[in-house]
Subunit: 330 residues, 2 copies
């Protein structure tokens, strides 16, 4: 079977040419576990970060041996678990860029292929969706009348966060994204009230025009100037979810932000790590899947076929040229 590995140690954001494909032995089905044929591999920013710097407790994968990590959707080809039988579909956060995967019983969840398209389980119903849902409903507790803003709004976390905020009663939903194509997606497909293009010279004025009385909830995926600007435009008692700091992932200087407004606005700033919400997968999916099925919440994929092209999609994601959730179909 095929798997993707790094050619060498990275010291910057990964490019397509940093990866190579190699053959490996098919794994055996573990006692009590499953053997899975991978159908979709999720390509995520946190993996890009991990490949060069490591991520939380995980060091970067070793070149030429360690499989590149990533969430997957797969079909069970052999089962020694009572949770699933052959032909069932599963989602796992312990997957990677491989054709076949052996998983222990605590490493996967059964998913329902009739409730939503399979690939949605690594996107709007997967980790990016859980990240958006946790920040909006559990940390910021968005409610009727909130003015909600989120950056990287064309991405699967930001785009989903804004739509969930709308479902929870937000009066105004504002996105920030880079470029006209992304802003069009955010406004026309995701249905935000306004998407501000931060590559435009007028983006700060555009943002203020969209939220003349300030923002009551800001969901941060970027950091840098965008965060300091957001802090200054909070309403009194504003809530800020600090989720991603993508602008800083491949910098050596630590990410910094303005703190005066946190005091002046009596803001509450909460750090979000999605791992904390892994006990809530079922609750999250039971709320989200009907919204996805009804079309209340939309998602967009930047899809490529074939493991050998996974690196190309990762490079595109690292350069911010993707539109929608990056996913590799096998």
């Amino acid at each position: 079977m095929k798997q993707v590995v790094l050619k060498h140690k990275l010291d910057a954001a990964p490019k397509a040419s940093d990866f190579m494909i190699m053959n490996a032995d098919m794994p055996d089905c573990p006692d009590g576990g499953v053997l899975v044929k991978v159908k979709f591999v999720s390509i995520d920013p946190y993996v890009g970060h991990q490949l060069s710097k490591g991520h939380m407790a995980s060091p970067p994968p070793k070149p030429k041996t360690d499989v590149i990590p990533g969430g997957i959707v797969g079909e069970v080809v052999e089962s020694q678990s009572k949770k699933v039988k052959k032909g069932d579909f599963i989602h796992s956060m312990d997957g990677g860029w491989v054709e076949y995967l052996a998983l222990h019983e605590d490493q996967f969840m059964k998913i329902d292929p009739r409730a939503a398209p399979l690939s949605a389980y690594v996107g709007v119903l997967g980790m990016p969706g859980l990240t958006a849902w946790s920040g909006v409903t559990q940390l910021a507790r968005v409610r009727e009348g909130d003015v909600f803003a989120v950056n990287a709004a064309a991405g699967p976390v930001g785009g989903t966060a804004g739509q969930i905020a709308r479902m929870k009663g937000a009066r105004t939903v504002i996105g920030i994204a880079g470029g006209a194509t992304k802003c069009q997606l955010v406004e026309e497909t995701y249905g935000f009230d306004r998407c501000v293009d931060y590559k435009s010279d007028s983006w700060q004025a555009d943002y203020k025009a969209a939220a003349p009385d300030g923002v009551s909830v800001h969901y941060e995926n970027v950091g840098s100037d965008q965060l300091s600007f957001a802090m200054q435009n909070l309403q009194l008692y504003g809530r800020v979810v600090l989720c991603g700091l993508a602008a800083h992932y491949h910098e050596s200087d630590p990410a910094m932000t303005m703190i005066g407004p946190i005091v002046g606005k009596r803001a509450v700033v909460s750090g979000l790590v999605v791992y904390d919400f892994y006990s809530r997968w079922e609750e999250f999916r039971s709320e989200m899947a009907p919204w996805v099925k009804s079309g209340d919440i939309k998602f967009v994929e930047d899809r490529i076929s074939g493991l050998e092209n996974a690196g190309t999609l990762m490079e595109k994601l690292m350069n911010g040229r993707n539109v929608g959730k990056c996913v590799v179909a096998l």
Copy 2:
């Protein structure tokens, strides 16, 4: 009667030579209000900030006309209010550096001179105490087992915050202060477990030795490197109260801090402005006054006599050479 004004507009922290004393007409007792003889004037860092830069909604006082603002304790010399009679004592946040003051009924609270020494009502039972109490009990909600740290720990906010945290069950209480005299006060009088001298080269190592497993609640009065360091030493799910940013008050660059740890630690950072808790004066004083009377909570004053010396005490405070709450006795 005498009052203190600025000689000129300030563009830096106030010095003793920036103030002058002048004569003014005695005010009349307002309808429904009181005329008060000032007994104690509070000298606070926020006033120092206001004198050069303005503060929140208030511009700096105009030189040679506007009285320097400050909390006061006074004795009622004439009353047209049903709240108090002649000879009663009151606390007001709308006072200033003057001998006599006219106050409307909503500008003062009656205080009990038997419950605590009068000057405590501008200190441990005044705004600094309310600031400490609000952050510890209402925002951070310190509870049994917390590891609590606070900087500017020799000051009336920091020193009181640590003692309230102890009363609320904190397992370890750590202070940060500048110099051996202040650290001795914090450990020996306020009874903190440890006070780290940030002027020592080893302060970061000393802090880590005092809290080897990190801090669950950090109460910030300073900003700058001390805050970034505290962020890095939080426990998972740590709570941070952002109260004062004294290191930045007279700087033109905005205060910045490291944000990566907020995400990584899943911290919650809350901005505190004590005005929000002015509706809680009675609740605060009814909890604190018995602790002060019993000696469970200690306070220390840096006291000077005579309005003409108020500027000298302000300069001492601005230079961080004060030890304890700065108060002028008239």
